[in-house]
């Protein structure tokens, strides 16, 4: 690790430090749990009519679960390749905002960024942002990213190969893994009233617009909850 690049200078205070082993353990927990859900993606993708190569290419090259699920869902629903890709792209916009926060936190060297960028997803961002120090954040990002990338692609392949053998994946409850993962990532972020208000408004906007807007768009509408709550709380403070 390039500690010389740390603008805070020197090691962090002892009480703020988190043992490397604890960071690795947390990262492996997220990486393994989420990585295994590539199985569900492989099954879903082949079930939606994509072939083995297309399914594996998505996990290798797109590597952002929600976008991958959105793409195969849209293709299965009969969407054309451009609108299907647009929905997946819009779902991926949140990764740009994770990158926005991670670039400062991780302070990656410029040469490493094009490679590190591929691992900027919900889970690596959540693990890295939850760490108390830059060293812990870098370890968390790297271990989560590596574990998740290897397992996600391996289980995508196994899932795609076994899609016919397993039959009805919903009967196994595998479709509940996605939302449970999102909830587990969200829970630690709900620290203050502002965060909770944003989450509540996002649920209302997302579910409310779901029946009337095309696939992929309701999530973007729900994202408006963030600026809306920020604007409202700003007005509240100005009045005081």
């Amino acid at each position: 690790m390039d500690t010389a690049a740390d603008p805070h200078g020197g090691p962090p205070p002892r009480d703020a430090a988190k043992p490397d082993r604890a960071v690795v353990r947390d990262s492996l927990g997220v990486g393994v749990a989420v990585g295994l859900s590539g199985f569900a993606f492989g099954v879903t993708s082949v079930g939606a009519g994509l072939d083995l190569l297309q399914t594996c290419a998505l996990s290798l090259l797109v590597f952002t679960g929600a976008s991958q699920f959105a793409l195969v869902g849209a293709l299965a629903a009969g969407g054309n390749p451009f609108t299907a890709a647009a929905g997946a792209f819009f779902l991926g916009t949140r990764n740009a905002f994770y990158g926005l926060r991670l670039s400062q936190l991780l302070a990656l060297p410029r040469a490493v960024r094009p490679f590190g960028a591929h691992w900027v997803i919900d889970e690596t961002a959540a693990v890295a942002l939850a760490q108390p120090t830059r060293r812990a954040a870098r370890i968390g990002f790297t271990v989560t990213g590596l574990t998740l990338y290897v397992l996600w692609n391996l289980t995508t392949l196994i899932g795609a190969l076994g899609a016919e053998a397993i039959g009805d994946t919903d009967a196994w409850g595998l479709d509940a893994a996605g939302p449970a993962v999102f909830l587990a990532l969200l829970a630690p972020m709900l620290r203050s009233t502002t965060e909770r208000a944003v989450a509540a408004l996002a649920v209302v906007l997302g579910l409310g617009s779901l029946p009337v807007l095309p696939a992929g768009v309701p999530v973007l509408v729900a994202a408006l909850a963030a600026p809306a709550v920020l604007w409202l709380s700003g007005r509240g403070e100005a009045r005081r």
């Binding site: 991958q68 670039s103 920020l230």
Partner: protein
């Protein structure tokens, strides 16, 4: 399904999603010094994760649906309140959803 059309969709998605990830990392640091951008960047993931959780639990084919996944999510929430490890949280959602379906729910 048309193979070429699928490959076009796969290619566009791969390039688009990668550029989004890279773009976030390459934005100049001074952009982040504005408090509003900072607050917004912190709150957007909250909004998106909350919406994704709700939609993946309560939707099917573009319609609102309450089914076994709701029970699975409740189990996951309970596991989170009990400070269970990540794997246990996800496993409890999968197991409860499968169990409710097996019981005809």
């Amino acid at each position: 399904m048309n193979g070429t059309a699928v490959w076009i969709a796969v290619g566009l998605t791969a390039v688009g999603c990668y550029l989004l990830k890279l773009g976030g990392l390459l934005v100049p640091a001074h952009t982040l010094e504005r408090p509003l951008v900072r607050r917004l960047a912190a709150l957007l993931p909250v909004a998106l994760l909350a919406a994704l959780t709700a939609q993946q639990t309560f939707s099917a084919d573009g319609a609102l649906v309450v089914d076994a996944r709701g029970a699975g999510l409740a189990a996951a929430a309970l596991a989170l309140l009990l400070r269970a490890p990540f794997l246990v949280v996800v496993a409890s959602a999968v197991v409860v959803t499968a169990a409710v379906r097996a019981l005809g729910g």
